[in-house]
Point group: C2
Chain length 155, copies 2
Amino acid sequence: MGGSNGYKTKQRDTILKYMTEHKDSHVTVNGISDYLTGQGNHVGTATIYRHLDKLVEQGIVRKYTVDSTTGACFQYVEPDSGCHEHFHLKCEKCGKLIHLECSHVKELASHVYSEHGFAIDPLRTVFYGICRECSENENNVQSDNNSQKENMNNG
Amino acid sequence: MGGSNGYKTKQRDTILKYMTEHKDSHVTVNGISDYLTGQGNHVGTATIYRHLDKLVEQGIVRKYTVDSTTGACFQYVEPDSGCHEHFHLKCEKCGKLIHLECSHVKELASHVYSEHGFAIDPLRTVFYGICRECSENENNVQSDNNSQKENMNNG
DNA sequence: TTGCGTGCAAAGGTTTTGCATGGCA
DNA sequence: TGCCATGCAAAACCTTTGCACGCAA
């Protein structure tokens, strides 16, 4: 955590720029790689991993693991907003990842800590369930939907 | 989801027995495989995965994903323990599973449903974090940390 | 006998590592 | 000039899938 975080390189800037421009959504290494390649700014996969690791260590980026089969998700953390903690809802039907920025959850977290001595880690905790769209669809159509695809947009 | 859960085989019994005997800790496929092989009860990896998948579907076993590098973790759920109605806290350090019978959580669940339209599934949802004992230990023991994860206690 | 269950190996995907080269300071 | 950073490919893992054979019902 010293002053020096390594050299300032084109690749580092490119990745950090991408992260800050997508701070409202979760991104995967694959997503970053594809996007940058499409923009003509190809960066090697290993380099992306290495930078992301460093950024996570420095607290600039957070790492989420939703599923063991899917790749890890990363998200930029705004440095000035000290308490940018939020939890996540993951729909078991469509795989959508929803950000839950809600005071109720934070209250719960502090309650659990003071009453139960347990420090909840919002980085790792994911609420599983069924999202609004899917429960509405469930009532209307009953087609087989076996998609395990992730579409993690929506901020 | 018919009544039949498949044939009763030696492998299925072996795996289920292992799960029930380790219900207090989370286990990995690798751990199961190694243990059974050591006991002279070798079961193929694919078979373990296939059974675990079924058990998860049936709600007999829970699946956790702590890290994308590590494999998934599994844990047996006692059918008569009423675990379907309350939430769980899992310590990332010691793997302990804590039953959280707390009105605050239920309130949160109904709030999330009414306000955010998301129906949380208590069976799948686990709060990750650090338990009281482990956070006390962390303060006392500050020995070598070659662990590349973990140091993320903020807030 | 029928058809699911099993084991092995191969495939598919994500992340890490080794090594020679390139680029920042 | 001295190192760190990068890229490529291979390796290391975890998980799934295909296929032939075994075994429960």
